[in-house]
Structures are given as structure tokens and as C-alpha cells.
């Protein structure tokens, strides 16, 4: 608890707990969207309450693809942002 001494780890960026909370919220949102999307794409009929073998492998692939797509969006966005900023990336967000 030193108010004026410089502690580099504590000084950079917002509250770590708030950051972690935002990440949890972000992952929850991602999960909900992925369930929504993979349900629409993989579930063919409601004839029974169990997932068929085909549906199961569809879900597995859907999750993998969705997360890969998420990463592609992330890296492409970063790339675009970097090229749009004439002075190079600022901060490290």
C-alpha cells in the first residue's frame, strides 16, 4: 500500500479484476453465440431428444471452426488497425 512509489506492475492499465471480469463476460458471450450458431447449423430435426452421431461430429467441427474463425477475425482486425494507424500501434490493446 504505497501511494506514491512507482510500482510498474500496478501502474499499467485498468484494474486487473475488472479486466478479468470483462474477459469472463466476453467468453460467455462468445459461448452463447457459438451455441446459437452451431445449433442452427447442426441440428437437422427434432425427432428425438438425443444428438445423433452426425450431429455430434457436426458440433465438434462447428466449435473448432467457430473458434478458428474468431481468431482469424482477431488477427485480421489487428492487421487492419495497424495499417490504418499512420503512427504505428499505440499502447498494446
Amino acid at each position: 500500500m504505497s501511494w506514491f512509489s512507482k510500482e510498474p506492475e500496478q501502474q499499467q492499465g485498468p484494474d486487473k479484476v475488472e479486466m478479468a471480469k470483462t474477459e469472463v463476460e466476453m467468453m460467455t458471450d462468445l459461448y452463447n453465440k457459438m451455441v446459437d450458431s452451431c445449433f442452427s447449423k447442426c441440428i437437422a430435426n427434432m425427432k428425438e431428444g438425443d444428438l445423433s452421431v452426425g450431429e455430434m461430429s457436426c458440433v465438434d467441427r462447428c466449435v473448432h471452426k467457430y473458434l478458428s474463425a474468431q481468431e482469424v477475425v482477431g488477427s485480421k482486425t489487428k492487421e487492419m488497425e495497424a495499417s490504418m494507424m499512420p503512427n504505428g500501434p499505440q499502447g498494446g490493446s
Binding site: K16, V17, V35, F39, I43, M46, K47, G49, V59, H64
Partner: protein, 97 residues
């Protein structure tokens, strides 16, 4: 990341995660109704759900739940594999630095 947090901060975060889980299970309930209504109810000749619609909604609910669980498991697998990749990446960066 959690390694950098103090015990009090970790407790705060755990509390938040529990709260978030409850919140999301309520959300999932509405989401299931929304999806299954869309899938199973297509005509409005009567105001009562007929036997076919009811069975469809029941199966749909079961499927949605199972799909959600499976999605969670696969997401965990993916991140575990990704985490190993990231760790390897970091090690390589450290070694090359």
C-alpha cells in the same frame, strides 16, 4: 493470468464467475425457448400447442441442452490445445530474445 491476482482479487473474481454462471443459465432458458419456438411452432390455427409441437419442443430442449454441454467441453479442449501452443510460442520467443 490468475497467477498475478492477490487472494482477495481471486475471491472477487470467483464470486463474479458464480454470479455470471447463474445469469447465463437464466439466459440459456430464454434462448432455448426462443430457438425451439422458432423450430417447432410454425402454424397458428389454434392457440394450444398440439402433440407434435409439444414433442418437438421437448426433443429440441433436450438437444439444445446436450449441444450446449458438448460445446462447452469442445471449447475447453480447444483452449487447452491453444494454451499449449501459446506456452510453446512464449518459450520460443523467450529463447530467441
Amino acid at each position: 493470468m490468475e497467477g498475478n491476482l492477490t487472494e482477495a482479487e481471486q475471491a472477487k473474481l470467483m464470486g463474479f464467475m458464480e454470479f455470471e454462471q447463474v445469469k447465463n443459465s437464466m439466459k440459456a432458458y430464454n434462448q432455448t425457448a426462443y430457438k425451439c419456438f422458432g423450430q417447432c411452432v410454425t402454424t397458428f390455427k389454434t392457440k394450444k400447442l398440439d402433440a407434435t409441437e409439444t414433442a418437438c419442443i421437448e426433443n429440441c430442449t433436450a438437444k439444445f441442452l446436450k449441444l450446449s454441454q458438448r460445446t462447452g467441453q469442445r471449447m475447453g479442449d480447444y483452449q487447452a490445445a491453444r494454451g499449449q501452443d501459446n506456452a510453446r510460442c512464449r518459450n520460443e520467443q523467450l529463447e530467441s530474445a
